[in-house]
């Protein structure tokens, strides 16, 4: 008995395709579709409104603030977590005592669930007797600061948590990439008279290019996606100082039940991510050397 080739192929693809379609592709397309309708209520079913939901967003000051906050958040967390990850990886890649313990320590934040991290940092940030305030009092003589309760510091406080959480994860990728660089390349470079700095900029960093690109794309996506700690700690407050696109979507969709507006917001988020990813691949990708 011979099965037609196409049937065989569909049977092999089927299970994965079914799951992907049911939980990813169909909801994504449905979201974009719903964004073109008004929010249905028990009295009034959804009606087609075209781009009205997007027009309403353009006039929504909180949307603009969330978008701005999110850009600041990305600009603050992405380069910082990448630089920190690279620094930690270079450090624990060297021959130093107890480097396994160091690697574990750096990686631990990655393993913790974001909700647990949020609770941990709630203690750190507690005014007056939290760890951060104790440190600033000891070292700088500052008075108590309400880190997550005041508009000036809240977003920065959230960014610090994201960097703390992500740098260890990215470090693992850098560590793996560093260990894949043949030692003879570094030996050849030093024999040719290159200083340590020159070896880093001219040999190590270019060879880490593909890893950096991968990490950068992931870090950007995460900066729009990983908001659990904000929902737990500030819920976007105070006065939307920590509102990001994702928290605003959550708030609009599941607190105000304005699902059409939330769908439109999701459309914007997807568009932003797509544009950034395309830019990264075309700008960085061209200069990245793949072995």
């Amino acid at each position: 008995m011979r099965m037609p080739r196409f049937l065989h192929a569909w049977l092999m693809l089927g299970p994965a395709l079914l799951l992907l379609a049911a939980f990813t592709h169909v909801p994504a397309l449905a979201t974009l579709w719903h964004a073109l309708f008004s929010t249905p209520t028990p009295r009034r079913p959804a009606v087609f409104v075209g781009l009205n939901n997007y027009a309403a967003l353009a006039e929504d000051p909180i949307f603009w603030q969330a978008l701005w906050n999110n850009l600041l958040y990305a600009l603050g967390t992405v380069p910082m977590s990448i630089a920190l990850a690279l620094a930690m990886a270079l450090w624990v890649n060297g021959r130093l005592r107890g480097r396994t313990a160091m690697r574990i320590a750096f990686f631990t934040p990655t393993v913790l669930p974001m909700i647990a991290v949020a609770n941990l940092w709630l203690f750190f940030y507690t005014p007056d007797y939290g760890m951060i305030d104790r440190l600033t009092r000891l070292l700088l003589g500052w008075g108590p600061t309400n880190w997550i309760g005041s508009q000036e510091t809240a977003l920065g406080a959230m960014m610090a948590i994201a960097v703390w959480k992500e740098a260890g994860f990215f470090m693992i990728f850098y560590l793996a990439a560093l260990q894949a660089i043949p030692p003879s390349l570094l030996e050849a470079a030093s024999l040719e008279g290159a200083s340590r700095g020159r070896i880093f900029w001219r040999v190590t960093l270019p060879l880490l290019g593909p890893t950096t690109l991968f990490i950068a794309v992931n870090a950007v996506i995460n900066s729009f996606r990983l908001v659990d700690h904000i929902l737990v700690m500030t819920q976007g407050g105070p006065d939307n100082a920590t509102a990001l696109l994702m928290t605003y979507i959550y708030e609009t969709g599941f607190r105000f039940w304005d699902t059409a507006q939330a769908s439109a917001l999701t459309g914007v988020l997807l568009a932003v991510l797509a544009v950034i990813a395309a830019l990264q691949f075309s700008l960085l990708g061209r200069r990245t050397h793949y072995r």
Binding site: E187, L191, E192, G193, R291
Partner: protein, 360 residues
Amino acid sequence: MTAAPASADAIRLDSLRKQFGSTTVLHDIHLRAARGRFVVLLGPSGCGKSTLLRVIAGLERADGGRVVLDGRDVAELPPAARGLSMVFQSYALFPHLDVAENIVFGLRARRVAAAEREARLARAASLLGLEKLLKRRPSQLSGGQQQRVALARAIVAEAPICLMDEPLSNLDAKLRGEMRREIRALQQRLGLTMVYVTHDQAEAMSMADQVVLMRDGHIEQDATPAEIYARPASAFVASFIGTPPMSLLPLVAHAGGAGIAGLPDHLLAPASAAGALLGIRPEEVVPAEDGLPACVTAAEFLGAETVLACALGSGGALLQARIPGHHALPPGSPVRLRLPPLAHLFDANSGKRLPLPPFA
């Protein structure tokens, strides 16, 4: 040859020692190499030859002794300041840089002026026939081309000493032969002092001015290829050099002299040689009616000649014979072989070469 003054030595190693943890990989190495010499460090894997090269390069730190390059003690100098270049076994080309940038990497690092850099690049590229490949990435080159780029990078530095760590081991046999000649010609043309690591004795014999044969972190013999072939200093050297290497036959006392166990009618040495090892070059063994009776155990046909492995006498001593022409005899065939006059004797315990006893 007149003795050169000490300052003419490009490389001098005095009681060099190196340990990794509790294992000593280099014991008390003494070595001198005159300027412009092609020195080959030869030995089986694990003999310490690569480690010795890395110690000279400064990539490993010696645990004792001195490395003197061109009259300077370089113990405290980093690799870059030792006035040497190196070709790695893996070539160590930078995969993200094109051929030209790979070659001038060191010149850029040393801030050589652009005009001179270009001139030296052009010279090195034409010397190695790389002019058309300068814009390629290493991954777009064949193994032989990558090898040339590594060579070009080494010579563009114009360092007086060049180190090579098994540079031909990743090439096929034909290319290896070509590169062997090319490297030798380049070394002579540029007057480089070369230290070349290999485990291939044919490579060593054909290229070297000076062969340093190593074993277990010691130098077994340091001599010219002709000397090391004609007068191996130990049984180990004897059994390493030659294709196939020297056969070593244990001698026992017979009435009136010494010979192979079980063959009392064929005396090979004076009685005082009993207990020693007799070294026989396979190419000096000839089939002859009046020769020693032997039994073929294996035959290897090489084209122009045949290598016969034979068992001799009651002890089954192994003798190899390289005989011109096609003689692929089946195992078990009886042959008669005539041995050359006594030329090599080695102490059975220490392996050291023994002086030939006078015939009584």
